[in-house]
Symmetry: C2
């Protein structure tokens, strides 16, 4: 009977894609290799050393001295939910700034967790003006403020320093989503006075998806300790998880051991490259890609250059072009993945990620030349030569920067 | 500056442990190797095929035809929380049978989620008598009943068929924790009428920790659809995740791609071995270990042989022996990990896991001989020879069964 039902599965042989979508990104082979170690116990003395290194590496990556800094055992959205679930009690007023798909996700999660959610919206493709944001904060006097630093749905980078100062004025807690920014653009948790931040491993941090780095400062920890009701999520309760990732080393749940190995190696690679060099690599490649796309005659969604996120570039699909067909051709003919639009941008934009190991000069040139060739075949007369020249010009201006890893 | 701060991290070189604790267990090298594939996008057509195979493999593993069967993107406790969060609304009466540490965890989670929790307790080390359990169900008429099939803290196997019938009588939903049983002992979700079950990958399923297989039957799905309030957890909301793992393939969150690769290979190995053969391997090795420990003069916590879980054997620490010292010696001198006691059993028992790839005859002999040698040195005169002979006798009775993988 068992034999009859037995299904023959082939060897796993996933295609070797160049991942230039909104994440996951490609991963340095060194990171993939450490995952082949046999797991060790989650309380093994040798694993506790690995945890110490991961905590230290994450602190350096977030630019923080926060004691409560660790990876949540889940993907980026788990980091979002963990941050919110820890801070929110029934009826708490939470102000969410929404300028894209992921800001909206924050608002949805906060509502489910029992918050009274106030949403302030901005057009997708634009950042909030800090003065307007501060006015909203002063008006609503929320307990918690949440905003996305790098909006993955639009490619907008949000300046947050001034907003953070204003959050302190009204004695609220600021949660910053750095899912797409951490490791790719400056995230200065302590300098900017960010109370809570969460990210993910599969974008600019350089590991596969599966963990969500988070950090809570001492104001946030005090806030958690003053809760009247326990965190609704046992799994995400930071004060419980603290007993495991902190000094007690008490059992909470079994950490995803091999993913922690991967994160450690990714953090080690970041140290080897140097975080500032890494930001520069992302900045230059992103600028070259944007220049190349504009040079080819395409229009970027984010009109203000200083609001453009170098790690994710969103471009309008030219009139009359079948966006899904072009994406599928890139995937099938070049093994090149780019992202589609989300929400109201569905069908209207493409999203080009240049994150972590995917963020390399050769990928910029591949994307420009492949997209250009396909668009010409699809009847959109783009100027591939000008695009390539514009990208190359950017690199010439930064010739001392390492743009390959 | 960056150079000055740069910390030199060594190559990752975790010890190659024999994992005979309560999980994580060792992993077949084939499973570890597939994790070195470059990730692909979570909506890549090739990845959707992998997801299809994983869903089918999980259905066959749970012995169910349930459409809503998929891995939660988190570890076993995430599976527990996901199951409860989906079923519970504020004020719902939830009956939890507690006979160990993990039953208690269910009760804690359910309370945090707003349930009115009724706890029925049994002595740690014993299963519930199904008649007593049914009486409690009829008396309390709860909306949801939760029970642990294989209690990892005690090594007790709970018969559930009769209890499941009684849950139907009162029109409640039954949640079965199969974290430690799935893949190691029979779990027949459809035959037993289990409405919801969750497990973990790092015990008898044979992959590293990081995913939590769950299954919801059509009664449970209807129950979810009838909720008055949305699931408090966006991340764990089964009806949302269903849009991704189900037919729509809509984006919900980024799956932990490389962990899904690992789970697929683990499921493939289960198919190759045959599920019944796998149960038999766990049964025989577990029986041999138990016979060996008793043969050496030690006492098992679970006094009723038919309640003993073959995949996890709990033994009392002999009077006067320093349990932590013995465990540390096993770890340092043999690279052999065994588990300590949890909760009221802390310091009083050792837990020997034989799960997945760790469940091999050679590990049974290693554990018996190493423990015996150390105990003798620590002054407890155990009869190692009788222990080994007793184990060997068990294997002779089942000489046709493959007890190595």
């Amino acid at each position: 009977m068992a034999d009859l039902m037995q299904k023959v599965w082939q060897d796993l042989a996933p295609p070797n894609r160049i991942l230039m979508g909104p994440g996951p990104s490609n991963v340095d082979p060194r990171v993939l290799r450490v995952m082949t170690h046999q797991p060790v116990g989650h309380l093994d003395p040798e694993f506790l050393n690995v945890m110490d290194e991961v905590r230290e590496g994450l602190r350096r990556l977030f630019r923080t001295g926060n004691g409560l800094t660790f990876p949540i055992s889940g993907t980026g959205s788990a980091g979002m939910e963990a941050s919110l679930a820890n801070l929110i009690e029934d009826g708490d007023k939470v102000l969410v700034f929404v300028k894209g798909y992921f800001g909206d996700r924050i608002a949805q999660m906060a509502k489910r967790l029992g918050a009274e959610v106030v949403v302030v919206e901005q057009e997708w493709g634009k950042a909030f003006d800090p003065d307007d944001a501060c006015e909203a904060i002063r008006q609503h006097k929320p307990k918690v403020v949440a905003i996305v630093h790098a909006e993955t749905s639009t490619g907008v980078l949000q300046p947050v320093e001034e907003i953070a100062r204003c959050v302190r004025e009204v004695d609220a807690i600021l949660v910053l989503d750095t899912v797409t920014s951490l490791g790719g653009v400056p995230v200065l948790v302590d300098d900017w006075c960010i109370d809570v931040s969460y990210s993910a491993t599969q974008k600019c941090v350089g590991a596969p998806p599966g963990l969500a780095p988070v950090t809570f400062n001492s104001r946030a920890v005090k806030f958690l300790q003053m809760r009247k009701s326990p965190c609704k999520s046992w799994y995400f309760d930071a004060l419980l998880v603290k007993t495991y990732w902190g000094e007690d080393r008490a059992y909470h749940h079994t950490a995803p051991i091999n993913m922690v190995f991967a994160l450690r190696e990714a953090l080690r690679l970041i140290e080897e490259e140097g975080l500032e060099n890494r930001w520069e690599r992302h900045r230059v490649n992103g600028q070259a890609l944007a220049a190349g796309l504009e040079g080819m005659g395409m229009t970027l969604l984010v009109s203000e250059p200083e609001q453009r996120l170098p790690v994710l570039t969103t471009v309008l699909v030219p009139e009359g072009v079948d966006e899904a067909h072009v994406r599928l051709r890139l995937l099938n003919e070049f093994h090149l993945e780019i992202g589609a639009g989300l929400g109201p941008l569905k069908g209207k934009v493409w999203r080009f990620g240049l994150m972590g190991y995917s963020c390399q000069k050769r990928n910029v040139f591949l994307a420009l030349s492949a997209l250009g060739a396909i668009l010409r075949e699809e009847g959109f007369l783009c100027d591939v030569e000008s695009g390539i020249a514009a990208a190359q010009e950017v690199y010439q201006n930064f010739s001392t920067v390492a743009v390959e890893v």
